[in-house]
Subunit: 203 residues, 2 copies
Amino acid sequence: MNETPLETIPAGYGRAVRLRAGEAIEIVNVTGTQVIDTWAFVEGEGGEYMSLPHTRVETGRMVPRPGESFLTNLRKEILRMEEDTSSGIHDTIMAACDAARYQRLGCAGYHRNCAANMNEALAELGLPARECPQPLNLFMNIPVHPDRSLEQGAPVGHPGEYVRLRALCDCVVAMSACPQDITPINGADRTPQDGHYRIPSAG
Amino acid sequence: MNETPLETIPAGYGRAVRLRAGEAIEIVNVTGTQVIDTWAFVEGEGGEYMSLPHTRVETGRMVPRPGESFLTNLRKEILRMEEDTSSGIHDTIMAACDAARYQRLGCAGYHRNCAANMNEALAELGLPARECPQPLNLFMNIPVHPDRSLEQGAPVGHPGEYVRLRALCDCVVAMSACPQDITPINGADRTPQDGHYRIPSAG
């Protein structure tokens, strides 16, 4: 039981938090439908980031299971997937939505997007803009069919499920409550929802 | 029928070629077992590169089929998968092997690796070193099981099969004949082989 209050990531926006090694963050699927694009960066100037391609080589899975760790692009452990009360359905292979994605989907003007949200969130912590790595797309359902086609699947989450990520080094975790409202990746009503997280107290 | 001579990528090494928009490269699986890590970069200083995560969003497939294009990190078309005489089994989700990977596999000294090969090949064209993006791992077999576990599968290629990639802009294609000799990804005998490519004449 965790009494730490929930923080809100406003629908379509981003947030970032600093974690010291040993601290954790719980990202909570309050609505059951909202995808949270998530990134992690090692503190400092080295540019090191959580890399899903490197993590896959190490874990031999599309998505790490509880007890397994995410690696950086330098193959160092950055976050441990400590607990996952969902069914384990998260995406690790689809790029974050960005301005170019919405242009290709036919949007005339600017559309909020996860890549820009990542940098807005980092800027709020005084950190410079950077290229957007492949995110950990929490609660996003991308079935891989036997013919290797991919499906933008309907959400399969349950309200209240969460993942707890434990920092294995000092790092910054950025999150975006995905603003996608053209495809149904955030639910059939195509209405992005707030995201939520909490920082559980030690122990 | 193509009479263009085959060029060799020595086993465990890299090569890069410049392609003008409209030119093509055929990468040939002569032995049937050798993985060729492949990257593409837009000519110029912009840092734009072929991005498999962005390509997947557009094509809705793990691996593009003939007629489909690879996108860059800016979602511009860079290469078309024009022909693929293999069974279409290529990997797009596993990071290139690098020095850190071989350290984790227990190698005491330096081991040749695809990430370094990419930069060695670029250097031969006078291009600066850069971060290694997720490669297109041609002829590499990574089955995705229903439980979302991944398998470092045995090669399923047939000698002589090839892919033809057509440049949709001026670009550089880098290739590495993967030096992996600890896992059996390049065949059960764990002996990396030469890779091969050719530049078909126009038309």
